[in-house]
């Protein structure tokens, strides 16, 4: 188990290196001269030359890369548009995004797993039908529409929750629901299938034949087996929540990394795009590594590194 963890963590180093190189090279993948792209349309020759020096674009590529890396951590890297340190700008937004992503993952996994287990245990009953109808609707509801609907109900009519902004616990409920509900639908469907499979296994018959109460058989013996594929999907959903949060962040005026990057795209703030994507990608990698570690906790057969 320990060697498995160490191996997984060591694997992060080359992944981080690869991801950072890719993000750094975005500027070079875009057709045209980087300095010209940064300068934008209608810039004079002096402007472009100036930018080359200020951004270090006249230096060799590896020096630029190292400066890029150092710049992120020291906060020296500045937004082209605002001139502010990117680190300073992105940090609070990053916290916002993570808060939102975690809240919605909690909603989607608890609700999804609960519905999936219920649907599997009461297979073909009205409970199953209701849960799966919810899953179908949830999976096919557009996020922005759901967001607006929730605002309409809870903020406009019932006036119990704020329609946007980021002030306290109450303000995160609606955006987290908006992001979490469609994702819970996917988790529910998968949990149902996985649970049905687990419940039909021989070891469940063994547990029942030995007088283990049904509740324990379902929530201990079957669920631990059924969760293995579910955890994978929850990990992948987290990536979707990081990147797909842009719409939700826009609908609720939630200050997050998604919107920050999209704004940067519109204002051609390439440095911000580079850093934003790098941070998002790294978070995704970290989450998936945690999922891998969680696998090993759930399934002893995967512990051999």
């Amino acid at each position: 188990m320990r060697s498995f963890i160490i191996k997984r963590l060591l694997l992060l180093i080359p992944i981080f290196f690869g991801v950072s190189v890719l993000c750094f090279l975005i500027l070079y993948f875009i057709p045209g001269v980087p300095a010209k792209i940064i300068a934008g349309e209608g810039a004079t020759k002096e402007d472009i030359e100036n930018i080359r020096v200020v951004f270090g674009l006249d230096k060799p590529l590896y020096v630029q890369y190292l400066r890029f890396l150092r710049g992120i951590f020291t906060g020296e890297l500045r937004s082209i548009k605002s001139g502010e340190s990117i680190l300073k700008e992105i940090a609070p937004r990053y916290v916002g995004t993570i808060q939102l992503a975690f809240s919605s993952i909690i909603i989607s996994s608890t609700l999804g797993i609960l519905l999936g287990v219920l649907a599997a245990v009461y297979k073909n009953s009205w409970i199953d039908n209701l849960a799966m109808a919810f899953a179908l609707i949830g999976a096919s509801t557009p996020v922005f529409w759901l967001g607006l609907l929730l605002i309409l109900v809870f903020a406009v009519y019932l006036k119990v929750l704020p329609s946007g902004g980021r002030e306290g616990f109450k303000s995160i409920i609606l955006p987290a629901l908006t992001l979490g509900l469609p994702s819970s639908a996917i988790v529910a469907r998968l949990t149902r299938a996985s649970m049905l499979d687990a419940l039909s296994q021989d070891y469940i018959r063994t547990a029942l034949a030995y007088g283990i109460p049904k509740r324990k058989v379902i929530f201990k013996y079957a669920l631990k087996n059924a969760l293995i594929p579910v955890v994978t999907v929850i990990g992948l959903q987290f990536g979707f929540l990081l990147s797909g949060a842009v719409l939700t962040e826009s609908v609720f005026g939630w200050p997050g990394v998604g919107r920050y990057i999209v704004d940067a795209v519109f204002s051609r703030d390439y440095v911000v795009i580079e850093v934003g994507i790098l941070i998002t990608a790294m978070t995704f990698v970290l989450v998936n590594t945690s999922v891998d570690l969680l696998y090993a906790v759930l399934d002893p057969r995967l512990r051999k590194g």
């Binding site: 021989d202 070891y203 029942l208 034949a209 030995y210 007088g211 283990i212 631990k224 399934d299 057969r301």
Partner: protein, 333 residues
């Protein structure tokens, strides 16, 4: 003195509703097991052996009809509540399954699974339950039980897993162990070891064992008595000697003849002609009559034969049995 019966199954009937029709899995099953006895239940695939034992433990969730009696120490298990059954399963009656590779939960250690059962039925704390788990692993002759107890099923071989299963079966000092084809999935050497362990446990712990098998070699090796099933009926029961030497039912004779002799080379193996009957539309009368070599028209196909008794231990269901010379059949309704 009358020997006390541990388990008595009387006129057990089990039907299932399916889309194709009603499957008459068990029609009239009568069985009894004494204390400290090993009973072999033999028959072809699909004759109802597994349904019988699953009914005893009330583990069938989809049966449409269950009638008859399953008396365990005089108490009808079919009449108990689900809650009362939880105290029978795993405590009084335990089961060993055919597939050791899949019968244990892959995500819990051997020890955790044993301890769950032990704590549930024996009222022991964690430490004592662990001690008991190691003790029963020792009883089934697993080497290094302190080490095995922390292993996951996938780290053990098939034979070792089956021993763990047997350890679980004896962990709460049951009165009856039901072993459903416990050696079918194992190779012959391991099979012999497992049978040896079962026999030893019977002698050491005085537990009764109902062993389901389609291997008559297994029966000859460890059983005291045999019950032969065919298409939802127990058609003949007797001691091992009675069945192997003086079987009276044509089906039992057919089964015995189907074992290829070791001493001589044979060109073709002996078979019973025909197939196992369809359980939705079974043959009328005796369900074996279309395949029977002693079939009498108008008798065998008219009505199912009743249970008849030859000796105190030997019973059968047949109109035209191979009776030993000079024996007049006794009808016991």
């Amino acid at each position: 003195m009358i020997k006390l019966k541990l388990l008595e199954i009387r006129n057990l009937k089990v039907y299932f509703n399916t889309e194709e029709g009603i499957v008459k899995a068990l029609e009239d099953v009568n069985l009894e097991i004494d204390k400290g006895e090993i009973l072999g239940l033999v028959g072809e695939t699909g004759c109802g052996k597994s349904v019988t034992v699953l009914t005893v433990l009330r583990l069938l969730s989809n049966a449409s009809t269950i009638s008859g009696q399953v008396l365990f120490e005089g108490q009808d298990l079919l009449k108990l509540s689900e809650k009362e059954m939880l105290k029978i399963r795993g405590k009084e009656i335990t089961m060993i399954f055919q597939e050791p590779m899949t019968s244990l939960n892959p995500v819990f250690t051997v020890g955790q699974q044993l301890m769950d059962v032990i704590q549930l039925h024996m009222n022991l704390d964690k430490k004592r339950a662990l001690e008991r788990a190691i003790e029963v692993l020792k009883l089934v002759k697993l080497p290094d039980p302190d080490y095995i107890v922390n292993k996951y099923p996938h780290e053990l071989s098939g034979g070792m897993r089956q021993r763990v299963m047997i350890a679980m079966a004896i962990s709460c000092e049951p009165k009856l162990i039901i072993a459903d084809e416990p050696t079918t999935a194992l190779d012959v050497t391991i099979q012999a070891q497992i049978l040896g362990i079962l026999k030893h446990l019977k002698e050491q712990l005085g537990v009764s064992i109902l062993i389901i098998t389609h291997n008559l070699g297994v029966v000859a090796q460890i059983c005291d008595r045999v019950a032969v099933m065919y298409s939802g009926y127990v058609i003949e029961t007797g001691t091992v000697a009675e069945i192997f030497q003086h079987a009276v039912h044509p089906y039992t004779r057919g089964l015995l003849k189907a074992i290829p002799p070791i001493e001589e080379k044979v060109e073709r193996l002996n078979v019973i002609p025909g197939n196992v009957p369809n359980l939705i539309t079974p043959p009328s009368g005796c369900r074996f009559h279309p395949r029977c070599e002693r079939y009498k028209d108008g008798v065998c196909n008219a009505q199912a034969p009743s249970l008849r008794q030859l000796t105190e231990t030997h019973t059968y269901m047949c109109y035209n049995p191979y009776l030993p010379e000079g024996v007049v059949e006794e009808v016991n309704v």
